[in-house]
C-alpha cells in the first residue's frame, strides 16, 4: 500500500447497492452538513440530477435503467463518491504537500488552503471524482472528517434509511459482507478502496471500471518519467562537466595553424 494505512485503523463505507432505493437522502444530507449551495439543474428526462458530481456535490446517485429480459427493465442506483483509495491517484500527483493527505483512518482528506489549483488530481483519479470550486480549489468527499472527530458517522451514512451506506471499520464491513456471500468490489483494487461496494452483477453493469487502476499515462508520468527525469537533469550536467574536464573545450586560438586539416 502506497502510504501505509494501518488496516486496523482504516475506516470506510460498504455500499450495498441491493439495498439502495435511490431516495438521495445521502445526497441532500451531505449538502446540508457541508452547507453547500444547491446546484442549478434542468429536467432532461431522468431522475438523475445533477448529472455529475459538482464542486458542491460530493456524492450522488446514478440512476441506471438496465434492460433485463425482453420487455423487462430494472433500475439500479449507484452511490457515486470519492473512494478514498488505498493508492490514491489524486494524492500521487498532487504537487502540494498537505493539500491532499491521508488521515489515520485512511481518509483521503484535503486542505483547501494548501491546494494550488493545479487540477492534476482531476486527471489522476481513476473514478473522476475531484471537482474545483469557484476559488479553483479541490473539493470532494472528505468522509466527514469533522463529524468523525466528534465521534459521529458521516452525514450521508447517518441519513441513509436502508442501510445501503454502512460506515465503520473497513475490515469488519468487508468480513460481514463476505459472510453473507455478497459480491464485493474494491477490496483489493488500488490498495483497497475505502468505499467497498456490494454489487448485484458485474461492475460494468454499474458503469464502474472492472479493474480500477491509476491511468497508465499518469503512472508513466509519475513513476517513470519523474525519477528518470531527475536522473537526466543531473546526468546531463554531470556529462557536460565530465566533457569539460576530460575532452575539454574547443579553443579557438590554435585554429589558424590547423586550418588546412579540414580542407
Amino acid at each position: 500500500m502506497a502510504d501505509a494505512i494501518k488496516a486496523e485503523n482504516r475506516k470506510g463505507f460498504l455500499v450495498d447497492t441491493s439495498r439502495c432505493i435511490g431516495c438521495r437522502s445521502c445526497q441532500v444530507a451531505c449538502k446540508q452538513w457541508n452547507k453547500m449551495a444547491a446546484d442549478k439543474t434542468v429536467e432532461q428526462g431522468s431522475y438523475e440530477n445533477p448529472r455529475d458530481l459538482t464542486p458542491a456535490l460530493y456524492n450522488r446517485i446514478r440512476f441506471l435503467e438496465v434492460g433485463e429480459e425482453p420487455g423487462g427493465v430494472n433500475w439500479l442506483f449507484l452511490n457515486e463518491r470519492c473512494m478514498h483509495c488505498g493508492e490514491a491517484g489524486c494524492m500521487k500527483v498532487c504537487p502540494s504537500p498537505g493539500a491532499l493527505y491521508r488521515t489515520k483512518e485512511g481518509v483521503v482528506a484535503y486542505n483547501k488552503e494548501k491546494c494550488i489549483s493545479c487540477k492534476y488530481c482531476v486527471s489522476a483519479c481513476p473514478f473522476n471524482v475531484p471537482r474545483y470550486d469557484s476559488d479553483d480549489k479541490v473539493s470532494k468527499c472528505h468522509l466527514c472528517l469533522d463529524r468523525l472527530s466528534g465521534g459521529m458517522p458521516p452525514a450521508c451514512a447517518k441519513a441513509c434509511p436502508t442501510g445501503t451506506l454502512k460506515f465503520g471499520k473497513r475490515s469488519d464491513l468487508i468480513a460481514d459482507a463476505q459472510a453473507t456471500g455478497k459480491q464485493l468490489y474494491g477490496v483489493n483494487d488500488l490498495g483497497g478502496l475505502g468505499v467497498v461496494y456490494a454489487l448485484e452483477g458485474p461492475p460494468e453493469r454499474y458503469g464502474l471500471p472492472a479493474t480500477p487502476h491509476i491511468p497508465l499515462s499518469i503512472f508513466l508520468w509519475k513513476d517513470v518519467i519523474k525519477p528518470l527525469g531527475i536522473l537526466g537533469f543531473w546526468g546531463s550536467i554531470g556529462a557536460m562537466l565530465l566533457h569539460y574536464v576530460t575532452i575539454g573545450p574547443k579553443k579557438i586560438d590554435e585554429a589558424p595553424e590547423k586550418e588546412e586539416r579540414h580542407e
Binding site: 504537487p95 482531476v122 489522476a124 499515462s217 569539460y244 575532452i247 575539454g248 573545450p249 579557438i252
Partner: protein, 205 residues
C-alpha cells in the same frame, strides 16, 4: 580583414534572451509541479498557486517567442548538406581531444537539430500545457496523456538546454559573444563555421 564579424542582429539577440528568460522562468516555476521533491522552488514565487500563474504567463511568452525564433532561423537550420553528414558521423569531433575540422555553414547540424527539437518541443509543450491548463474542458484521456508528454518534453528540453548552454559557453569559448554583442571573432568563425565565414565576409578563410 576585421577581427570581428557580425553573427546576430540586436533583434535576434533580444529574442533569444526573451526565450531564455521565459524558459528559465518556466523551469523554475515548473520544478515544483514536476515533483514534490522540488517543492521548495515554489517559495521563489510565493507559493504554488503563484508559481502556476507565473508558469502560465511564461509559457505564453516562451511559446510565441520560441516559435518566432525558429521561424526567423528556419532557413538556416532546416537544410543539411554533405559536410553536415560528415559532422554527424564524427559527432562534431566532440568525443575526442583530437582536433576536428568541418566545413560548416552558419550552424552545425547539432545546432540545427537543437533548434528543430526546441521548436517541436515548444509546440508540444504548449499544446499539452493548454490541455493541462483547463483539464475539465477536454476529455480525460487527452489531459492524462498531456500530463505525461509535458513532463517528458520538459525533461528532454532541459537536458538539451544543459548541453546547449555548455556548448555555447565554456564548451566553445568565444561563442557566447555572438549572443552578447552580436559580433564573433573571425578566428572563431573560421574555426567553427568556415563556410558561413566565407559567405558572410566574402573572404576565403
Amino acid at each position: 580583414m576585421s577581427n570581428y564579424i557580425e553573427r546576430f542582429t540586436a533583434g535576434e539577440r533580444v529574442l533569444h534572451w526573451i526565450v531564455t528568460a521565459s524558459f528559465f522562468t518556466l523551469l523554475l516555476s515548473g520544478l515544483g509541479l514536476f515533483s514534490r521533491l522540488f517543492n521548495g522552488y515554489f517559495t521563489l514565487f510565493g507559493g504554488g498557486g503563484n508559481a502556476i500563474m507565473v508558469h502560465k504567463i511564461a509559457g505564453i511568452v516562451f511559446f510565441f517567442s520560441s516559435l518566432y525564433m525558429f521561424l526567423k532561423h528556419r532557413r538556416d537550420v532546416s537544410t543539411f548538406d554533405e559536410d553536415d553528414r560528415r559532422w554527424i558521423e564524427q559527432r562534431g569531433g566532440y568525443l575526442s581531444r583530437e582536433e576536428a575540422h568541418f566545413n560548416i555553414g552558419k550552424y552545425n547540424p547539432g545546432q540545427k537539430l537543437f533548434a528543430i527539437f526546441i521548436a517541436a518541443a515548444t509546440l508540444i509543450l504548449g499544446v499539452t500545457g493548454l490541455f493541462i491548463w483547463a483539464p475539465t474542458l477536454f476529455p480525460r484521456w487527452i489531459v492524462q496523456l498531456s500530463l505525461m508528454i509535458h513532463g517528458l518534453m520538459f525533461v528532454g528540453t532541459v537536458m538539451f538546454v544543459v548541453v546547449h548552454v555548455y556548448l555555447a559557453t565554456i564548451g566553445n569559448p568565444g561563442t557566447i559573444e555572438a549572443m552578447l554583442y552580436g559580433d564573433v571573432r573571425s578566428m572563431w568563425a573560421k574555426r567553427h563555421h568556415p563556410k558561413w565565414y566565407k559567405e558572410a565576409s566574402g573572404e576565403n578563410p
